[in-house]
């Protein structure tokens, strides 16, 4: 088995793998069918009813590809395409620079407050719509705090938020937790023996990290990085709020939502987004192919935590503090905004007040309740589906199993408003016995959230399963355990960290999702926090209360995240003690 644990060196999945993965059991087949039906019903059919327009000819409605030719012939779209590719790639680079030190320091060293840092490092993902961008502009914009001070003191400004670079900056801050959370989970899962073996052979320092630790954590890094790439490629909110319109996702959104113009190009771009997302996932899967990242020993509780020398400690704290300060700036800004009386063209607000919290206190209760219910249900659906899909793809030989993964991933590329319209179109005609349309039930919002956030949970579960050696399952089965029992007693417990990471990501991002929600919310009583926020952020007087609601949302999700980190930490300790 020793060779199965070697990382970085490619070897074909031969021998034990092939022997293990014989044809699928009826149970696996049923599971695959159930997932296919779910995805077809809540993703493929609703979206298909909307974007088929991309393939129809104007006037006749017959099938055609001429719209795609138009896409290739239009300078604006080609420029948008390359801008999107560039911004996504650079965002991955910048996000990695933020995430690597945080993940490495907190998992590898005996570092006080590691758990707190993990939680804080997760917060940027919870950027409430609208207010997050306003706060960011108030701090980093052309006339934000930083630039006003720089201009006063030194007479220059730094264009943080201008053009494509602004988008890269904000996206990296916003999405780097994808890398942080997946990479940390992966680092925790590395077998300590690998590292010790390398050290015994005389390897240490950066070489140890570069040759042993990082390669072993690769599934987590790739999972995070590919998510960042695809998410940035498909994100429309940030570019639009920075008034960057020549990127693909904003172009799709602007065209899909323009009133009274029946333009197929919005849907054509949606198709391009979907294809690109699947392509990116395929490339990342290719990059991992032929390598085996699984480690057998699972009791170690991850990498050995080392004491730092004093100067190392100072450097580590300084690095962590600086990164956190930068990535949490939007939330600091949000907090200031929620207490501010007036904040306009000045480094800090004119004065502070509690009035905004007073205004939202009464009505926020129902929003908080709805958000908790919707986001946790969506998160649960996501980890169940994510685990199942990861298992089917990695552990069975079902034909077309990859397509389950790709279909679920494609959800990332579908603009929320397209999914919302698709749901209305598909489910509004379906009536309940009392005559109300199916689409008016709040459960439809949950399903939309679950579909939109499924790729996050899926990547986390996928990475977790990749790190588990199949030989453990073989051992269990050799000892007479059934497949179901093996999954329940061996696979799931070992995946727990990754599953939880997936749940937290799905939950947290579902809690602040707006675009599909805005289509599907039927009454204030069913509305989640993000909708309440949207309602406030449409007027000048609503900025403060909107920020207050945003802070409540962030706190809420942060508490849940912190709790789940506690659970991870505890289970790791328990495992360590049992070792």
């Amino acid at each position: 088995m020793a060779d199965a644990t070697t990382a970085g060196r490619a070897h074909a999945p031969s021998g034990p793998f092939r022997h293990f993965m014989t044809s699928a059991t009826p149970g696996q087949l049923a599971l695959a069918l159930a997932i296919t039906v779910f995805l077809a019903l809540f993703l493929i059919i609703p979206v298909g009813t909307v974007i088929y327009v991309a393939f129809t000819e104007k006037g006749t409605g017959t099938f055609t590809l001429v719209n795609f030719v138009d896409f290739a012939r239009t300078d604006l779209f080609i420029r948008s395409f390359w801008n999107s590719v560039y911004v996504s790639a650079m965002s991955v680079v910048l996000a990695s620079i933020f995430a690597l030190p945080l993940a490495y320091i907190t998992t590898r060293f005996d570092f006080r407050g590691a758990m707190l840092i993990q939680t804080l490092g997760f917060l940027p993902l919870i950027m409430p719509p609208f207010v997050g961008a306003v706060a960011m502009l108030l701090l980093f914009g052309r006339n934000g705090t930083v630039n006003l001070l720089l201009n006063d003191w030194f007479g220059f400004r730094i264009p943080f938020m201008e053009g494509l670079n602004g988008v890269i900056f904000v996206q990296a801050v916003h999405y780097f937790p994808f890398i942080l959370i997946n990479l940390s989970a992966a680092l925790r899962n590395i077998d300590r023996a690998m590292e010790e073996a390398a050290q015994n052979l005389g390897c240490s320092g950066f070489r140890l990290f570069r040759r042993i630790v990082f390669p072993l954590a690769m599934p987590g890094y790739i999972a995070g990085a590919s998510l960042v790439f695809v998410k940035v490629f498909d994100d429309l909110a940030t570019p639009l709020l920075l008034n960057v319109k020549d990127m693909l996702a904003p172009q799709a959104y602007l065209r899909v939502t323009s009133i009274g113009i029946a333009d197929p190009m919005g849907y054509v771009i949606s198709v391009v987004l979907i294809v690109m997302s699947i392509l990116a996932m395929w490339v990342s899967a290719r990059a991992m192919r032929g390598k085996d990242y699984a480690t057998v020993q699972r009791g170690g509780g991850g990498l050995a935590r080392r004491q730092m020398r004093p100067w190392e400690s100072v450097a580590a704290y300084a690095a962590v503090f600086l990164i956190l300060l930068l990535v949490l700036a939007p939330h600091i800004g949000l907090l200031l905004l929620s207490f501010a009386t007036i904040w306009s063209f000045s480094p800090l607000p004119d004065g502070f007040t509690l009035a905004h919290y007073g205004r939202v206190f009464g009505e926020s209760f129902v929003y908080v309740k709805n958000t908790l219910i919707y986001a946790s249900l969506a998160g649960l659906i996501d980890v169940v589906l994510g685990t199942a899909i990861a298992y089917l793809v990695l552990r069975t030989k079902l034909i077309g199993r990859q397509w389950l993964d790709w279909a679920a991933t494609a959800a990332l590329a579908i603009p929320g408003v397209v999914l919302g319209i698709g749901y209305l179109r598909t489910f509004y005609g379906v009536q309940l016995p009392d005559g109300t349309p199916l689409a008016t039930l709040w459960i439809v919002i949950v399903l939309a959230l679950a579909i939109r956030r499924l790729p996050y949970a899926l990547r986390a579960c996928y990475a977790a399963l990749q790190q588990i050696s199949v030989s453990l399952e073989e051992a269990a089965e050799n000892l007479g355990a059934t497949k179901v029992r093996t999954v329940r007693r061996i696979v799931l417990p070992l995946m727990a960290g990754g599953i939880l990471a997936g749940f937290v990501t799905s939950f947290a991002t579902a809690a602040v999702e707006l675009s599909a929600t805005l289509m599907l919310v039927q009454s204030n009583a069913d509305a989640p926090l993000a909708y309440g926020l949207y309602v406030f952020m449409q007027s000048a007087a609503g900025r403060g209360p909107g920020a207050a609601l945003g802070v409540i949302a962030v706190l809420l999700v942060a508490l849940c995240t912190f709790a789940s980190h506690l659970i991870i930490e505890k289970s790791q300790k328990a495992k360590g003690a049992g070792h």
């Binding site: 104007k58 138009d70 333009d263 449409q538 609503g542």
Partner: protein, 440 residues
């Protein structure tokens, strides 16, 4: 027998009661793009005037609201659509999603400014009006030593370069009307020239109407072309902003309509009647709403300096507005603006900056030849790919309606128009830079 009678009487009574009380009870569902600051006072006042009725407000932006009604028409649950943009109502009307209703209110004139208040066919009714103007952040203007603008043309001056913002007309129905008014007032060619000269100074073109006041309030942009109530409500919230109506401005109405097959039609009509009744019109005067009532009598109750379009001719009455012309080319104007300005903003700004610099150099040392070059550059910037006649022609308008007829595809036209603009902006920039080089 008596029992039967009693039961029958009770039944009839109940039927009568529900019939009579139908307008007075139950839930009235309204889809609106208005913010809480606007809807809350109306909700309270309406529910007070009609005890037993609840107004269920669903906030959606105008685009989402239109799509929502479209997708749910088979089993409609919405009673009212309530928003600013007249074009959204036109689209809904065109798709047969509205039901005609003539409000009971009296004393409402036909026009406010030069724009008709109500849909002539009666499918939607104006309940308030707003004027367009210029809003600016005083701290920003002071820090950058910028003068106060008075008119649209002022914003085209070199000092305002990179300091102005506006919402894209394709995204904001009210901005669209302002643009259309400039085009009708100054004529197609001169109108576009003005628009492009002002647009060349833009810092950003936002995708939401509210994006402009937000940027001005927070000081990210100095000057915004906005609808008046955004500025007034910002002032009411304490932001250091000022507002001015230009000497010629447009007045645009905000509307309400009963949705076809409304589940509570009587309740919906009651709300429309309430909005236009004197009591409802007075709610508009509240500082957090501050819109212009369509009932001239209500202005007697307004504060002294409240703008009154029925008395002040500079508010809308001076401009001519032909609804038919506007409707015919509405999509074309939006797409033209997007393709030649919004998506070419960097190129337009580069050309504008070069022209400003060249003119500054000329001001120091004049030279007839160079002046001619600058004028050529300005002409290049102002050039449009199609004429007013073409913009209203069915060959071109047909590309945007998704109609059944075959013809040019939208994407083809867009590519032609944007290439046309891009090429000329580059030429204009080269000419202006040439002048600058010679001046050195």
């Amino acid at each position: 027998m008596p029992r039967h009678y009693a039961a029958a009487a009770a039944l009839i009574g109940a039927a009568l009661f529900t019939g009579v009380a139908f307008a007075q009870t139950g839930k009235v569902t309204v889809v609106t793009s208005f913010s809480k600051d606007v809807t809350d006072p109306f909700k309270q006042a309406f529910e007070k005037a009609h005890p037993g009725v609840t107004l269920d407000v669903q906030n959606r932006n105008t685009n989402a609201g239109v799509k929502y009604l479209e997708e749910t028409k088979a089993n409609n649950q919405v009673d009212l659509f309530w928003a600013s943009a007249p074009d959204a109502f036109e689209v809904l009307k065109g798709k047969g999603l509205l039901e005609a209703y003539k409000p009971k209110a009296e004393g409402i004139p036909d026009k406010i400014g030069s724009y008709p208040i109500n849909d002539p066919a009666g499918f939607y009714s104006g309940f308030a009006a707003s004027g367009y103007g210029i809003m600016w952040n005083e701290r920003y203007a002071k820090a950058n030593e910028l003068p106060e603008p008075k008119d649209w043309q002022d914003l085209a001056k070199a000092v305002y370069f990179d300091h102005v913002a506006m919402a894209a007309p394709s995204r904001s129905g009210t901005t669209h009307l302002t643009i259309e008014t400039i085009l009708q007032g100054e004529g197609w060619e001169k109108g576009w020239r003005t628009l492009k000269e002002v647009s060349g100074n833009f810092r950003q073109i936002t995708e939401r109407s509210f994006g402009v006041p937000e940027a001005v309030n927070s000081g990210q942009v100095g000057f915004g072309i906005v609808i008046d109530f955004f500025a007034f409500s910002s002032q009411a919230s304490g932001f250091p902003v000022k507002f001015v109506y230009p000497t010629v401005t447009t007045i645009v109405p905000a509307n309400v309509a009963v949705v076809a097959n409304a589940p509570n039609k009587a309740g919906a009509q009651a709300f429309v009647d309430y909005l236009i009744s004197p009591a409802g019109q007075e709610v508009l005067l509240e500082p957090s709403i501050r819109r212009l009532p369509v009932n001239p009598a209500v202005y007697d109750k307004a504060p002294a300096d409240y703008p009154n379009p029925f008395k002040d001719p500079s508010l809308g009455a001076r401009v001519k507005f032909d609804v038919e012309v506007s409707e015919k080319r509405s999509n074309v104007v939006d797409v033209l603006y997007d393709q030649t300005v919004t998506f070419q903003l960097d190129a337009l700004k580069a050309a504008t900056k070069a022209i400003h610099d060249a003119e500054a150099a000329l001001a120091k040392k004049d030279n007839a030849e160079a002046r001619a070059l600058v004028s050529e550059a300005r002409d290049l910037v102002a050039a449009m790919p199609i004429t007013a006649e073409q913009a209203a022609s069915p060959e071109i308008t047909g590309a945007f309606t998704g109609g059944k007829e075959k013809g040019a595809r939208q994407a083809e036209l867009e590519q032609q128009w944007s290439a046309f603009a891009k090429e000329r902006y580059a030429q204009a920039q080269a000419k202006a830079e040439e002048v600058l080089k010679r001046a050195r």
